[in-house]
């Protein structure tokens, strides 16, 4: 079926292109290209987890960067205490993300619509302020990591290519996981609730439980992204989880095409490209970026994935 073929064409070519990046990087300024590509992959991971909420759950979370921050701070805080084992840091990142997701989800998911948007935004801001007041961990200024995470005592991630490979692997794994998830029984209940909550309750589902699990899962993936993010930038600060970052993530999801998963990858790529191009042009690039956002909303529906085709019906 051609629609189905087109639906797989975009994700396959996106991942192929990403897999070839290290090869092409050798032709140019390698560390620069790898740094950008790693950043892209990590943001795509975070945006994809957000798409799980927005595109499938109908839950517009405006506090998703908080999970990114939790993952990053798990690395930063542990490494400042001399614990630089990747597995321990990752475990802390995931545990922190799950706990925060569970606690805030329990409250935010009791509400709907604009309430949900505002409450997730508020919880994200709460964590942001907590980070700024952690004087022991750099407060407003954040902290620089002494080294990247160690894997079983080896400094495997010191190579940029290795970190890129790990990030891309994580993205691919989570993408496949999310694909299965959205087509599973669980995913169907989630999407069904987005379309018609009352109907789902009338056939015996309790949407809250499904939404909560989805919210925690998305948080876990974003927490993983945060772990990678800290390693990529070598620096952790409250800005990692600013509310503007949450907005950027939403923009990536919408730009790429809501409810497609791979659209988040395209959206993150387009976002970084825009940022690079516009900021080369003028230091006040945001003055162009803002209106572009407004125009994208007003005129370009369906996002990049929608343009290429194969959008979920």
């Amino acid at each position: 079926m051609s629609a189905r073929l087109r639906g797989t064409l975009l994700p396959v070519s996106l991942f192929l292109a990403l897999a070839l990046v290290p090869v092409f990087a050798k032709l140019g300024p390698e560390s620069f290209i790898l740094a950008i590509a790693t950043r892209l992959v990590i943001l795509a991971l975070a945006a994809m987890s957000l798409d799980l909420l927005i595109g499938y759950g109908g839950l517009v979370s405006f506090g998703h960067a908080a999970f990114l921050g939790i993952g990053a701070y798990a690395v930063g805080i542990l490494s400042s205490h001399g614990i630089d084992d990747a597995l321990l840091q990752l475990a802390a990142a995931l545990a922190g993300a799950a706990l925060f997701g569970l606690l805030t989800g329990l409250i935010a998911l009791r509400t709907e619509g604009v309430y949900f948007i505002m409450i997730t935004l508020a919880f994200g801001q709460m964590l942001f302020f907590l980070a700024t007041s952690l004087a022991a961990y750099g407060g407003d200024d954040g902290m620089t990591l002494s080294s990247r995470s160690q894997i079983l005592g080896h400094d495997l991630l010191r190579s940029d290519a290795a970190l890129y490979g790990l990030s891309l692997g994580a993205l691919l794994l989570c993408y496949l996981l999310c694909r299965r998830l959205t087509a599973s029984r669980f995913g169907r209940v989630l999407s069904g609730t987005r379309e018609n909550r009352t109907r789902m309750e009338a056939i015996g589902f309790q949407p809250f439980r499904f939404q909560l699990v989805a919210y925690v899962m998305a948080g876990l993936i974003a927490g993983l992204a945060g772990f990678l993010f800290a390693n990529q930038t070598g620096f952790v600060s409250p800005a990692t989880m600013s509310w503007q970052r949450s907005g950027d993530l939403i923009f990536m999801v919408v730009l790429g095409g809501v409810g497609t998963l791979h659209g988040a990858v395209a959206g993150a790529a387009a976002f970084l490209l825009l940022e690079e191009v516009l900021s080369h042009w003028t230091e006040h690039w945001r003055i162009l970026f803002g209106p572009l956002l407004v125009l994208a909303v007003l005129f370009a529906r369906g996002g990049i994935a929608g343009l290429v085709g194969g959008r979920r019906g």
Binding site: R180, L181, R188, S191, E195, T198
Partner: protein, 249 residues
């Protein structure tokens, strides 16, 4: 206490407006009961209260002798209650089959399964296909439900309700807005369901009600003023005055 559904002194007010004013009702297992009444009599509110979409202020709702009044809608559904909506309530972006399959899923095993492709589960698809065939929608299975005609949506709504394998089915004006031909089809389906489960039908269409129901209750201003066989109800002077008379006038 053998009633499948028993309502005792059910009350509900919105501000000063009493929409249910001490409703008493007992429906026998396997009975087809219709509730009629003029607009604003509180018929839809009654369905909402029994199904759990709206809360009653006081009184009791007994399903097979068990008080379900404090339970949320999904919990009541799990005890064997299903309902249709007056305004069609389906998942427009899901295919017709998946609308039904999702309802099957609600009653078959856990939905906290994250890996297996639900669209390829025979456990869900086979019962769904069977129901679609019964409701004349088999040829529409792959179509997004939002694209169905109005009459087909009404049929789908019934198929979805039955897919949860209810013991008690609440129907909120299933004929509302249908054409004559469509309504005849729905009546046929309902006729075929008689006796297989307990049904509470709220409906405006007198012809359909008198053809289908074992017994009819008349609801006026939030109170049941009469209950009887269709013939008894037709002949009841109080009902004629309060309700049928108005229609004729």
């Amino acid at each position: 206490m053998s009633a499948a559904l028993r309502l005792q002194g059910l009350c509900k007010s919105y501000g000063a407006l009493k929409v249910s004013d001490g409703v008493d009702l007992a429906i026998e297992p396997g009975e087809f009961r219709a509730v009629i009444g003029p607009n604003g009599a509180g018929k839809t509110t009654l369905v909402h209260q029994v199904s759990g979409l709206a809360r009653h202020d006081s009184g009791r709702i007994l399903l097979d002798g068990r008080d379900i009044g404090a339970l949320a809608m999904p919990d009541r559904v799990r005890l064997g209650l299903a309902r249709s909506f007056q305004v069609t309530s389906i998942l427009p972006g899901f295919t017709v089959r998946d609308n039904v399959a999702l309802a099957v899923q609600a009653r078959s095993g856990s939905s906290f399964r994250f890996w297996r492709d639900a669209a390829r589960e025979p456990e869900l698809n086979e019962p769904a296909a069977e129901l679609l065939a019964r409701f004349g929608l088999a040829h529409r299975a792959e179509l997004p439900a939002g694209l169905l005609s109005y009459g087909e949506k009404r049929q789908l709504e019934l198929a979805v309700a039955l897919a949860t394998r209810p013991r008690l089915l609440l129907l909120d004006e299933p004929l509302a807005g249908t054409s004559h031909a469509e309504s005849r089809e729905v009546v046929e389906r309902l006729q075929a369901l008689r006796g297989s489960l307990t049904i509470l039908l709220v409906e405006h269409d007198m012809e359909a009600v008198f053809a289908l129901a074992d017994r009819v209750s008349v609801l006026v201003y939030g109170r049941v003023i009469a209950t009887g066989t269709p013939d008894q109800i037709r002949a009841d002077p109080e009902v004629r005055a309060a309700y049928l008379g108005e229609e004729a006038a």
